[in-house]
């Protein structure tokens, strides 16, 4: 396991947690683009977790409140693929789970300022996510 203070290297993968309702089972691309959309407060970029800093990709679920963890799918994406899209991964430590990082280019300001660019990138990201997707422990139902 890597120490989270070590720099991110291209041979790593990152984990993106995908809310179950954003999945499209049976479709050629089974993840909705909105799964990578920054939240309004994500000015530094969207959250991911470095798989190299976790014992198992599912350990990233510890960042969620317990009653929601089973609702999340787990997309494992090679850092090299993100780099090929012109994106980067920057460590951003949190207390709950080791290996938290952000993709700084995918921040809410950038997305709103160039929506056409963002739309193209979203489609590329969901294709990457679909290549290695661990389904949620519980199928999508009501949120609460």
């Amino acid at each position: 396991m890597k120490d989270e203070d070590e720099p991110v290297t291209p041979d790593e993968s990152v984990v993106r947690l995908v809310w179950g309702a954003f999945l499209r089972p049976g479709e050629p691309v089974p993840v909705q683009p909105v799964a990578f959309k920054p939240r309004d407060d994500e000015t530094d970029g969207i959250s991911v977790f470095r798989a190299a800093c976790l014992n198992d990709p599912k350990d990233a679920l510890a960042a969620m409140t317990p009653d929601k963890r089973a609702r999340y799918a787990i997309a494992v994406i090679p850092v090299a693929e993100l780099l090929a899209l012109g994106l980067s991964v920057k460590p951003a430590k949190i207390d709950a789970v080791p290996g938290h990082a952000v993709i700084p280019e995918l921040n809410i300001t950038a997305v709103k300022s160039d929506r056409a660019w963002w739309k193209v990138l979203q489609l590329q990201l969901v294709e990457l996510a679909a290549k290695n997707l661990i389904p949620p422990a519980e199928p999508p139902t009501d949120a609460s």
Binding site: W19, F22, K37, M64, R115, A116, V120, D142, A143
Partner: protein, 132 residues
């Protein structure tokens, strides 16, 4: 209701006269309304990461919009999704492999987006007041 949305209605996919969907993944209006109704229960932190709850008046407004779209023979959206900011979004897959998204961000307020790969991109805001 949704008077500002009328000009964009021609941009949405419609069922051809022969009833075929031309290979587009078409949703179902009943399922769309059921999804909207289900999102009424989406209170604050519905996703465990601080997502905002979806207000009831926004759902009501989205439901009214469904009525308007149906009355203009618009195809049902491929899916209806909740938004982290307390919104709901309708999405249509298009025959050209692109997408149309209509995100309801408030009562009678929405953001429309059309994207066709290697083709046109369009973004419009509907219903927001113009400030001086």
């Amino acid at each position: 209701m949704w008077a500002n949305a009328t000009p964009i209605l021609p941009k949405f996919p419609r069922l051809p006269l022969n009833g075929a969907s031309d290979g587009v993944h078409v949703g179902d209006w009943s399922a769309c309304l059921a999804d909207l109704d289900r999102y009424r229960a989406y209170s604050d932190d519905w996703d465990g990461q601080g997502a905002k709850g979806i207000p009831g008046d926004l759902i009501d407004s989205a439901t009214e919009l469904v009525g308007l779209l149906r009355s203009h023979s618009v195809l049902p959206p491929t899916c209806v999704l909740p938004g982290f900011g307390g919104t709901v979004g309708f999405e249509w897959d298009t025959a050209e492999g692109g997408s149309i998204t209509l995100e309801i961000i408030g009562a009678e307020t929405a953001e429309f987006e059309l994207h066709i790969p290697d083709g046109p991109y369009e973004f419009l805001k509907i219903g927001e007041p113009v400030t001086a």
